[in-house]
Symmetry: C2
Subunit: 281 residues, 2 copies
């Protein structure tokens, strides 16, 4: 495959920007699904050049076996992208291309938003995300970059990153894409059996349950219900279920007025980690 | 689809060339088949960036109905290209992009090579080819450009064009791709019915016949055989069958020593024009 180094990508995108083209960027780890394609379609709608990166970033995996099992389907990914638009640029760098000799994460201070939930359960994860997104942004130099709200905390971390690194890019949040049963689309779903995928829809149903109870019940009661429900599920383990204000992402037990809350959940199902979230009010 | 103007294409390819990338170019009119894919595969093998243009060039059609019926299959073309390599750049300009306001052919003097055969039966055709190839070469600025020997006379015209326009590009001739029955692959084959395609294989068989007789028989005898054979075919009309030295492309009736000859044929089958050629010695 024709591959571009970060320097080459800059070299051929920058002149297009000077000619008035706007560059939309969809960073991915490949194993593309309709969620990614929705991001790319929005990028195509708003920008006149679109770059999709496919890079399974080693520094954001806190468990080596998770990195090892992450699905890699470059040829199928390329077909999906070409079907959408054959001139979308696929940027699939090697780790060495992107990082140079030392494939290590930079240490960032993203503040409170990065401390709980994914920040707590995946130590170092957001430093890895921040490092790779910074490197990708510098290679692609996009006007707009598209991130799914499925990784909501990541989205906030990336917004913070843009502030810290003073990058001239607009972050565009995109709604979670779900299958007809409500399961949030994720590359990891490919590793689930059909029955596990059916079982995993309980995540969506319980988020809807939390949403419908949020106005009338207090947070600990909702959390207790969720914990009891997941405790009864076989082969499924609730890692966390938290409700947090969308601006701080600090899990709360009290509801404050005029604050928007979101519920966040992480579940292990047969060793595969799924996350999801939903606006509550 | 993300489309590039000629100026934009130059703007983003030139910096890659400065970074040491070599650019291979496969100009096509779309409706891609394995012949085109073979050209592109060779380009990928020899160059580190590949551009395929898809442009049905109005100025090289001497009959409006031929231009109108020329197959256009951009989405399928894009899929074929992406299967080969998803980062091949597709350059699909509009006529206005490429030509500006006046979509007219420049008048070239390609000398003797352009006078007979296609030059005789398709007046203005090579001026149209030269004009569009010149415009495409200036947009893509390739190091190498790949042309199939199926359009052998065109290949020679393009070599002459490069000389006339002093273009810094190497023309790479590629062997004719054929189906298992010998029919030369052509976008126009898509317009043939299955039985017409079967009938059309007589073109290949008679070229082979000419090749096997060339050492022992003289040219007029071979021509007479071909003419009689095609006269017996229904719905098929022989436009020309000529034998010419590969360097002058002037049809000969005498064989000179130490000269390489090729046989050239053009046939109408149910209103569809097919051409082919074969080295004879």
């Amino acid at each position: 495959m024709i591959l571009y180094t970060p320097a080459e990508l800059s070299a051929f995108i920058d002149p297009l920007k000077h000619k008035g083209r706007t560059v939309g960027f969809v960073p991915t780890m490949g194993a593309l699904h309709k969620g990614h394609i929705t991001l790319a379609a929005q990028a195509l709608h708003e920008c006149s050049i679109v770059v999709i990166s496919i890079f399974v970033n080693p520094t954001q995996f806190n468990k080596p076996e998770d990195l090892e099992h992450y699905p890699r389907t470059l040829q199928a990914d390329a077909m999906l992208i070409a079907q959408l638009d054959p001139n979308i640029i696929i940027f699939a760098p090697t780790a060495r291309d992107l990082y140079g000799d030392r494939v290590v994460a930079k240490s960032y201070d993203f503040g409170v938003i990065a401390t709980a939930m994914e920040g707590q359960f995946r130590p170092g994860h957001f430093d890895g995300v921040g490092t790779v997104v910074n490197l990708l942004f510098r290679a692609v130099n996009p006007d707009k970059a598209y991130f799914g709200e499925k990784d909501y905390q990541q989205l906030k971390v990336v917004e913070k990153l843009v502030e810290i690194e003073a990058l001239p890019v607009q972050i565009v949040p995109c709604a979670i894409a779900r299958n007809p049963e409500g399961l949030a689309l994720s590359s990891r779903n490919a590793r689930l059996t059909a029955s596990e995928r059916a079982q995993a829809t309980i995540i969506y149903r319980m988020l809807k349950e939390a949403q419908s109870r949020f106005a009338s019940e207090d947070i600990p009661a909702i959390q207790a219900l969720l914990q009891q429900t997941f405790a009864q599920e076989e082969n499924m383990e609730l890692e966390y279920f938290d409700i947090a204000p969308v601006d701080t992402l600090l899990p709360s037990i009290h509801k404050a007025k005029n604050i928007k809350y979101r519920a966040f959940i992480a579940v292990m199902i047969s060793g595969i980690r799924l996350i999801d979230n939903m606006q509550l009010n």
